[in-house]
């Protein structure tokens, strides 16, 4: 029986580094190739040695698919392709291909800057890796090879994020990556057609949560920034180069415009321009509102947001600064934080996840006295706020996607085990499909029931409809014909046409059966008794007694002989064709009961 195998190397019952291996109809695909930012040794990358025990990775894997540009989904890609040695095709959407290297480069710089590490990919490796990437359009069917095809669907979440359908023959898997079922300020909602995959691999970050509207969180954010600026304080927003930063820029820009605020907003990295360039370039990927207003004014051309210079940090008066890196663990954001931390009028807003050890993590967990380098103690008096703007589907959204795609099986990844367990039960109850949640390193096997499309000949169709009722979508109809399997295709044709096409002669197949009857009379007398008996019972059939002593009922032939060892026993040889199968069976069972006494 055909099967689909799924083994997460990452994102199996965790929200770490996504990397999921799928085997479908002999093809092996890697879904995402993420990095865990919480480690600074080999543990940050998935353990690729488990992919294949024998042979080279490039020979084993047919392709790698990246769902979106977040580092927990693509951060290990240059390592995998340039250091581990995978040399096969890599697929992602156009925006992801454009933005991915910016984030990889940003993270490489932070890593090299802060930790002085050597075992990390270089700028050249990022470029070489990106040159191997094949970019795909939404809804474009891409033929990886003759059998394997993939297709991207819109996933919301971040610019360029996509869900991917992987199809080999009639078997298919859909991988959602991260997605969002509600539109937000600059992106639309995820959408997929009713593709009925054998398996839907879905993220489950918010498996048990019904999230409040993002608008509330945005209002809260604006209120906090506004209040701080009003009282003359400075607001620091540590961000990564791209993604959340642009989202918050749009928010502030519109708010500043509406409220006619004058306090300066700065973006510190010099990457704004490039990032905004991509948002402009891929305007079709943003939501309808942004697309509509694009004609009058491009949302990503900011009037109020200016480039930051190091000297500005010392300027008096209120300001808002976006600075990298997002976890306050090096570079500019940390430097500004140090300058501003001592003043209670100021505020730092952390809009994303921070790994253990970073200053971001420490202040979020409430630590207010931080040991800095040189055993200096930094007292944090500024306000610290955490705001999650991440755009994942919540429990309702996940159920909605399942309803939309109608998968035969569901597999949960990218979430916590406990929450997954809850959602799994809910899915199984509501949709009556199997739901799996393998841990990292565990393989889930799903048996598929392949539905094979068959072409039917017009002649046969006409003949069958002529004898039966008119075709009805709701009532399946049984068709008789001959199945021809030729050149990788299946066709149902009439037997005559099949014989003609294949140049075969027709053979008649007869079923035979021997029935023993106790009758001491002569053979021809026994035959006569049988004839009379059948004539009496089978009134609607043509029963004939032929001159050679045999009896026929339709195509059924009956002959009698005496048993070689026991003359009192007569052997009736019954034979019939396939067409009279039913009658033949009935007749033999009738004869097996013996002959009635009255005919004697």
């Amino acid at each position: 029986m055909p099967e689909i195998k799924v083994t997460p190397l990452g994102a199996g019952q965790d929200v770490g580094r996504s990397c999921i291996l799928v085997s479908i109809a002999g093809k092996n695909v890697m879904l995402d190739c993420g990095m865990h930012m919480g480690y600074n040794d080999d543990r940050r990358f998935p353990d690729f040695s488990y992919i294949t025990q024998n042979g080279r990775l490039t020979d084993f894997l047919d392709c790698v698919i990246i769902s979106h540009f977040h580092l927990d989904h693509c951060g290990a890609l240059p390592y995998f392709s340039e250091m581990v040695g995978y040399d096969g095709p890599i697929y992602m959407t156009h925006p992801t291909k454009a933005i991915c290297p910016i984030l990889l480069e940003d993270y490489r710089k932070i890593t090299v800057d802060k930790k002085g590490e050597t075992n990390f990919f270089t700028s050249q490796m990022i470029k070489d890796c990106m040159k191997k990437v094949v970019a795909v359009h939404l809804h474009q069917t891409v033929q990886v090879d003759e059998e394997l095809e993939i297709k991207a669907y819109y996933a919301g979440h971040v610019l360029g994020a996509a869900m991917f359908q992987i199809k080999v023959g009639c078997e298919s898997v859909v991988y959602t990556g991260d997605y969002n079922m509600t539109p937000d300020r600059h992106l639309g909602a995820a959408w997929i057609d009713k593709c009925r995959p054998d398996l839907l691999i879905t993220e489950s970050t918010y498996a048990t949560t019904i999230r409040d509207s993002k608008r509330c969180r945005e209002r809260d954010f604006l209120k906090k920034v506004h209040e701080t600026v009003e009282r003359g304080g400075k607001v620091l927003i540590p961000v990564f180069a791209l993604g959340r930063a642009q989202e918050l820029c749009i928010l502030l820009e519109t708010f500043w415009e509406r409220m006619n605020l004058k306090a300066p907003i700065y973006f510190s990295t010099g990457l704004t321009e490039k990032a905004n360039h991509y948002y402009k370039l891929f305007i079709t990927w943003t939501n309808q509102k942004i697309r509509k207003t694009f004609v009058q004014r491009n949302m990503f051309e900011f009037k109020h947001i200016k480039a930051f210079d190091r000297a500005f940090a010392d300027n008096p008066g209120p300001m808002v600064v976006f600075a990298t890196p997002g976890m306050l663990h090096a570079g500019q954001s940390l430097q500004i934080f140090r300058k501003w931390a001592g003043n209670e009028k100021n505020m730092v807003i952390m809009p994303g996840y921070c790994v253990q050890g970073t200053v971001g993590h420490k202040i979020l967990s409430g630590q207010r006295k931080l040991e800095m380098e040189g055993r200096q103690i930094l007292e944090v008096k500024m306000q610290v706020e955490y705001m999650s703007f991440s755009a994942h589907a919540d429990a309702k959204g996940i159920m909605q996607l399942i309803r939309q795609a109608e998968p035969r099986n569901v597999l949960l990844v990218h979430g916590e085990a406990k929450k997954m367990e809850f959602l799994k039960q809910k899915i199984e109850q509501e949709f009556h499909v199997n739901c799996y949640m393998p841990a990292n390193g565990e393989t889930t096997t799903i048996f598929t029931n392949p539905s094979i499309p068959v072409d039917i000949s017009l002649g046969l169709l006409k003949r069958e409809t002529a004898i039966g009722l008119l075709p009805d979508v709701k009532k399946p109809k049984l068709m008789h014909g001959t199945l021809i399997m030729k050149d990788n295709s299946f066709r149902l044709v009439s037997p005559e046409q099949a014989l003609k096409e294949l140049g075969l002669a027709e053979h008649q197949l007869r079923f035979t059966c021997r029935v023993h009857i106790q009758d001491p009379r002569k053979e021809h007398e026994t035959v006569l008794r049988v004839y009379n008996h059948l004539k009496g019972v089978l009134k609607d059939y043509s029963v004939q007694h032929l001159p050679d002593g045999s009896i026929t009922v339709e195509s059924i032939l009956i002959q009698a002989t005496a048993h070689s060892e026991d003359q009192g026993t007569k052997v009736l040889l019954v034979s019939w064709t396939y067409q009279d199968e039913e009658l033949g069976s009935y007749l033999t069972s009738l004869l097996k009961k013996g002959l009635p006494q009255s005919t004697a």
């Binding site: 929200v15 930012m37 024998n54 096969g88 090299v112 190091r310 570079g331 430097q335 253990q356 050890g357």
Partner: protein, 852 residues
């Protein structure tokens, strides 16, 4: 232990020591971990805690750690007492207990507390519902692995039935657990044999220690079982054993199982050929089996004969890489690798016009032919074979002779099958050509081998037709960008080879023609709509200039083509990667045009000033880091090679560049600026004849000090010091480190006799107020403050006297140590980790679900 190793250990011990502060925090952390009401700590925290304990226990086998910190055993007790501990905490506890029990004294301590049995024995998690969780099983295996490093632990494991658990876990549904279990068995077997035997072992049971006997019996039983998975598990275990253990007893073990293993080669029912090949490979690499007379090598030969080419390939290439190996095995291995290539050659040309790769008498091509004619196996067999050949060719010392010319013919045939240039009439040839057409995987692999082959002798006669094939790839619009990149790589290697050939007249003509064709196609590729292609083309050009810039024909062909002009145009490419590559290419082109001692073509189109101005413009205005980084690298390269003119010009040039880069937002550009400064300083000092320069004549003290002054004045005029001192306080650490190195170097030049007090002229003048300020700022500044803007507090960075004073008085040595101390030692310290875990106690879990 080497000096370096012991230094590292001492450093690690110091960094990760159990300080009083840590000891104070630890009880709170243990209590929090054992408290089921607390949200489970971030798994990275738990992993890092275990890392810390691993370091702590590695250097200290005593019981002090557990005695002084009773909270550790209390943590284990509390977790065991929980009715439903979370799987991650239980897994953590198992691993922690294993790490602690790695020394005999601590093992006894935990035994007295009766903890180990409850963790690793039958009454532990092993028989609870939690065992269903893979992380718990994984924790159990890891814990046992850490623990079994002494006899009592080994006895504990064997007598308590632990070995049977590990046997079962070999077939665990989790790949991680199964693999860890297999490694654990290897460890236990090795440890048991090596710690419990005193005399050489024989094949009979009674010599072997009890624990080893159990494992070996298990291996033997599994090998004889009818279950494929059991056989596979044992083969995996043996592979791990022979890979990691090179002791003589492994040979004795082999004698016990050899017969069974041999039978797998001939029995078709056993489907573990890949594993079998892998096992034999690991054994072949073990010195234990290096004796070429042994029956082991007969088995390897037989395996190479019986296994399919795909299965035998890795074994064949592994054997060929061996220094010592019987000749007949080598021949057989070579046959495995060359057979597909031979088959291709024969399919491409029937009857064969030249020598094949193999003697027909030794090879039976039927299997390979059938694999190559099948759509499903052709590409994978070829890709594997090609990858193996590339591996072999990349070895410096190859202990086997390969028929390079025939190999090259075969490679060309493959490449021509793939681009449709060859479709032979033979049935096999036409089948293969149909299968291979447009096959990117095979094209890439073949081009890789082709590039590697350029280093080998014997192919020169074929070079003309080889370039026909390569040029067809470079020209064809159907060539994919990834294949094109490989084609460029192969072409550059062969062009270098071509130039190295002896120059007859006809050969020179051939070279010129090839170069002309290459530049023609490069012109076209530089205008490609795909940025990947434009970038690869520029990279190709740079490589060519690097390798061939001294060759006249090359320079002529390059300069008479449109390539230089097109390259300069690409400085304005919309794609930043391409702009950066164009900068590098233009920078290298300069070596052929205006920096060349006798430039063949000097015309107005190659204007040095224009190029420099263009590159400076990129450096100051390009919105992206890559092109700016490329410019600064090229400038440094030019400076290093002495292409920036006389000292005066160079001074102005460097000064201009520094002013541009010192405010760059990309710290790597600023770092590039510092590199430029470093080269400039050493060049200047060297040029002005300081005695430190090895090539300079020895000067008297008087002239030396004049020159010092002169160079100091040059550095001041070029505004180096402002940049250097400011970089010391840069928020990006590598800059501070590099600037400090340069300043220290300058200091040693200007104060050749030691400290400031010893030198003439300035000993009486105490540091002025501005220098005192600089000292103060640097002392605090690099740690907390940003360096103020221009001329803060009146330091004149262009005044030679002030700078001489600054160099003499600022504590650069201390600053150097401070900057070089691992910048994230606070972040990584155990105290920080413990503090972070404690700080999260009581916080809401919400933050963790977020991700980037």
């Amino acid at each position: 232990m080497s000096l370096r190793e012991s230094w590292f250990i001492a450093r690690a011990r110091h960094r990760f020591a159990m300080t009083p502060e840590c000891a104070l925090l630890l009880p709170g952390v243990c209590a929090a971990l054992a408290d089921p009401r607390q949200p489970c700590s971030d798994d990275t925290c738990l992993e890092k805690l275990l890392d810390w304990f691993r370091v702590l226990t590695r250097f200290d086998p005593t019981v002090t750690l557990v005695q002084d910190n009773p909270c550790l055993t209390e943590l284990i007790t509390s977790v065991l007492a929980l009715p439903e501990p979370s799987p991650s905490i239980l897994s953590f506890t198992l691993r922690l207990a294993g790490i602690l029990a790695a020394s005999e004294t601590r093992f006894q301590h935990l035994q007295q507390e009766q903890l180990l049995l409850r963790l690793f024995g039958r009454d532990g998690p092993l028989n609870s519902a939690l065992w269903e969780d893979a992380s718990v099983r994984s924790g159990w295996v890891a814990g046992v692995h850490s623990m079994v490093h002494h006899q009592p632990a080994l006895r504990f494991l064997c007598n308590g039935g632990g070995i049977d658990v590990i046997f079962t876990l070999q077939g665990d549904p989790s790949l991680f657990v199964a693999s860890a279990a297999s490694q654990l068995l290897v460890h236990v077997l090795t440890f048991s044999v090596e710690s419990e035997t005193t005399k050489p072992l024989s094949t009979t049971d009674r010599d072997w220690p009890a624990c080893a006997q159990m494992i070996i019996k298990h291996i033997e039983d599994s090998l004889q079982s009818s279950s494929a998975s059991h056989i596979e598990q044992s083969l995996k275990l043996l592979t791990g054993l022979f890979d990691s253990c090179r002791a003589m007893w492994t040979k004795v073990l082999w004698l016990r199982i050899a017969k069974q293993i041999k039978s797998f080669l001939t029995e078709e029912t056993v489907q573990a050929q890949h594993m079998l090949a892998n096992l034999l490979l690991k054994m072949a690499w073990s010195p234990v089996f290096s004796d070429t007379e042994g029956s082991f090598w007969a088995l390897v030969t037989s395996a190479l004969e019986h296994l399919t080419p795909v299965q035998a390939g890795p074994l064949a290439v592994g054997v060929l890489r061996l220094y010592k190996c019987p000749q007949d095995v080598r021949v057989q291995a070579l046959t495995v690798l060359l057979q597909p290539m031979d088959c291709i050659l024969r399919a491409a040309s029937q009857p064969l016009e030249y020598a094949g790769l193999l003697d027909e008498s030794v090879s039976d091509p039927a299997t390979v032919e059938s694999l190559l004619s099948s759509k499903s196996s052709c590409a994978s067999l070829l890709c594997q074979t090609l990858a193996h050949l590339e591996q072999l060719l990349s070895l410096i010392h190859l202990h086997v002779d390969l028929p390079y010319a025939s190999l090259l013919r075969s490679l060309m045939a493959i490449l021509q099958f793939c681009n449709g240039f060859l479709s032979p009439a033979s049935p096999l040839g036409s089948t293969i050509s149909r299968i291979l057409i447009n096959c990117l995987r095979v094209q890439k692999s073949a081009l890789d081998v082709l590039a590697a082959l350029s280093e080998r002798e014997g192919c020169d006669a074929l070079i003309g037709s080889l370039f026909d094939v390569l040029l067809a790839y470079l020209e064809s619009p159907n060539t994919s960008p990834t294949v094109l990149k490989k084609a460029f790589q192969a072409t550059s290697k062969w062009l270098v080879r071509l130039q190295g050939l002896s120059c007859s007249n006809s050969q020179q003509q051939q070279t010129e023609k090839i170069l002309e064709d290459v530049f023609l196609v490069l012109q076209k590729r530089l205008c490609s709509p795909s940025w990947e292609v434009r970038d690869s083309s520029l990279e190709f050009l740079t490589v060519l200039i690097k390798c061939l810039r001294d060759q006249d024909e090359f320079r002529q062909s390059l300069l008479s083509s449109e390539v230089p002009r097109l390259t300069e145009n690409l400085l304005e490419d919309p794609e930043s990667y391409v702009r950066a590559s164009a900068v590098t290419a233009v920078g290298h082109l300069a070596f052929v045009t205006y920096f060349a001692p006798e430039s063949p073509v000097i015309g107005s189109q190659y204007n040095k000033e224009n190029t420099v101005a263009k590159l400076q413009e990129i450096l100051s205005t390009d919105s992206e880091g890559f092109p700016r980084r490329a410019v600064i690298n090229i400038f440094t390269k030019w400076l290093r090679q002495g292409c920036t003119g006389q000292l005066e010009d160079t001074e102005q040039f460097v000064s201009r560049v520094i002013q541009i880069v010192e405010h760059d937002l990309d710290w790597e550009v600023r770092l590039g600026g510092l590199e430029l400064v470093e080269v400039f300083c050493s060049k200047t000092i060297c040029q002005l004849g300081h005695p430190k320069c090895p090539y300079a004549p020895v000067l008297s003290t008087v002239t030396s000090s004049i020159h010092q002054n002169e160079s100091l004045q040059i550095f001041c005029r070029a505004k180096l010091f402002g940049f250097l001192f400011r970089s010391l306080c840069d928020c990006d650490k590598p800059l501070g480190q590099r600037a400090c190195d340069i300043l220290l170097c300058l200091k040693s030049n200007f104060y050749p006799f030691g400290n400031m007090e010893d030198s003439q002229g300035i000993e009486d003048s105490p540091p002025g107020p501005s220098i005192a300020w600089l000292q103060r700022t640097l002392r605090q500044g690099s740690l907390a403050q940003n360096f103020p803007t221009e001329g803060g507090n009146g330091v004149d960075f262009q005044d030679p006297e002030s700078m001489m004073l600054a160099l003499g008085t600022v504590g650069l040595e201390d600053l150097h140590d401070e900057l070089n101390r691992c910048s994230d030692h606070v972040e990584k310290s155990p105290q920080s980790l413990l503090g972070d875990i404690l700080a999260t106690v009581g916080t809401v879990e919400e933050n963790e679900a977020d991700c980037y």
